[in-house]
Symmetry: C2
Subunit: 290 residues, 2 copies
DNA sequence: GTTCATCTCTGCATTATTGCACAGCGATTT
DNA sequence: AAATCGCTGTGCAATAATGCAGAGATGAAC
């Protein structure tokens, strides 16, 4: 039995199609199909139902997936352990962070690259969950209240948030009470940027008219006057025309955490980046308890 | 990273050489060398010291081995689980057993093959340890006192053993006391056929002059008159000229167990073989408590 | 010291794997 | 109903992996 085939199997199981798996694995879809055939032949069991709308795991496929995931976890651990031995200050360093609309770290990154010109910085600005255990990124910068306990977490700072609305909307409604307004909120996965709970805590009847995964969408929606929402004064353009609702009364925000996997603790690039971020975040970001 | 490379790495780590690993894997040694190079390149670490007397694990290699073994265990489990789904009464069935000198099951095997002509029986007669968890065999028949608790064990019978010597030797020594004779014993791995303990229990000063891993060697040695030793009356040729020392006094023997891995419980060939052996062993072998 | 056996390394021919392009199929849209 | 899109299956060419055979090196046996 070819051990590699399990990786292909897992990709198909997750993607639900040959094409999707091929894209993830960065190979041709026919390669995936052929390897899957061989695996089924070697195990003597059909692993997928070939349905018109994709590949669906059979009973045996489900069993295999459970075990293959265990293999994958172990392999990922191996890769992390060996990556942590990497003492070179050159090569790639992959950072995942919120979109620059919500958190702009480019000034810090620019200085970092100047100091370590051999490091190839890959910035992955996504709101989706990025799995550090699977080495999808080396470092994650995230808005979270409580960091996951299986990761090494360092608090970089605090991002204050006020409630903003367009001048026109506030004038029209003629109210300073947030619960009187329709809301536009950013709803992220797994409690990241989960402002919905904050809002409902203020007033349970608050009407939410728009949810988006993008901070920029929230900003643009508020500018266009559809409602109010959380924005950070640190991220407003200088020429903005928005108005804050009683900022002294409602004071929200998120902690900004830098997360790394414990297994990568000794990786030289991760170490220097982390140290650099900590020292620079003190100057750039608000240091304040939430 | 290529998952397969771990299998090659493990083979080299165990064999201590490229050639040995290649033999185990049944590939050319240059393939092993090239895959190992790639793995080291991918992990960015040297895994082996290339010494003149072979390949020796480096510090990183030792770390990797620990983790690779975990991967291998998981893969083996997958293979066992899928093998257990195999409901065909055709194909191969691998049995490991003591050499036929010690235990002759050919009459049973012959009948089994007649009843299941599509099954391809592979008999591996070795005294060495055979790892059922690694699918080195489907069924093991072993002389052991207490079967391993992680395997499914069925007792097939009991092999009585008496102390034999050549007529000439016994006449010359003129003694019926076993401790007066030099001994020839079969010393197996892990307490299998471990008659040494039995002998020393009778008399701690017993002199052991020859140890061998082969029952046949013991028989031939005793025939040639170098000493006495344990042999089974069931396995003596009809025309033998040996003489037993006080058989009524010293009555030893081994239990014969049939061992299978729990994960193979549902494999059709294993099931029918096991049932066949149990029913036939009652007739062929002595059924008696040790 | 010589011979022999064993192991590793390397260039080349063979074999296996992969990517590519095209065809077919079903679902959704126009 | 035709068109379009995304997905899967297949033959063929390009590419990569493998086996093979010979050379060199090392240690053991004579």
């Amino acid at each position: 039995m070819n051990w590699d085939h399990l990786e292909y199997f897992l990709a198909v199981a997750r993607a639900g199609s040959l094409s999707g798996a091929a894209k993830q694995l960065d190979v041709n879809h026919s390669t995936v199909a052929r390897r899957l055939e061989k695996l089924e032949q070697q195990l003597g069991s059909i692993l997928f139902h070939r349905l018109s709308n994709g590949y669906q795991l059979t009973e045996y496929g489900v069993k295999l997936q459970q075990q293959a995931v265990a293999v994958e976890d172990q392999i990922n651990q191996i890769q992390r352990v060996f990556k942590s031995h990497d003492s070179e200050l050159s090569g790639s360093l992959c950072i995942t962070k919120p979109s620059s609309g919500a958190l702009n770290l480019q000034p810090i990154f620019a200085d970092f690259l100047q100091q370590y010109p051999e490091i190839d910085l890959q910035i992955n600005a996504v709101s989706e969950f990025t799995d550090l255990t699977r080495l999808e990124a080396d470092v994650a910068i995230r808005f979270v209240e409580t960091p996951p306990k299986d990761l090494v977490a360092v608090k970089l700072g605090f991002m204050p948030m006020y409630i903003y609305g367009s001048r026109e909307l506030i004038k029209q409604m003629n109210s300073q009470a947030p619960e009187d307004y329709p809301w536009v909120i950013q709803s992220g996965p797994k409690g990241q940027m989960d402002s919905e709970a904050d809002i409902l805590a203020i007033h349970p009847d608050t009407k939410i008219i728009m949810r988006t995964n993008s901070y920029n969408e929230v900003y643009e929606a508020i500018c266009s006057g559809v409602g109010v929402g959380f924005l950070s004064p640190l991220r407003l353009p200088l020429d903005h025309t928005l108005q804050a609702l009683t900022p002294e009364k409602f004071h929200f925000g998120s902690n900004i955490w830098l997360l790394t996997h414990p297994d990568l603790r000794n990786n030289a690039r991760v170490k220097v980046f982390k140290a650099f971020m900590i020292s620079r975040a003190a100057k750039l970001l608000v240091q304040q308890e939430s």
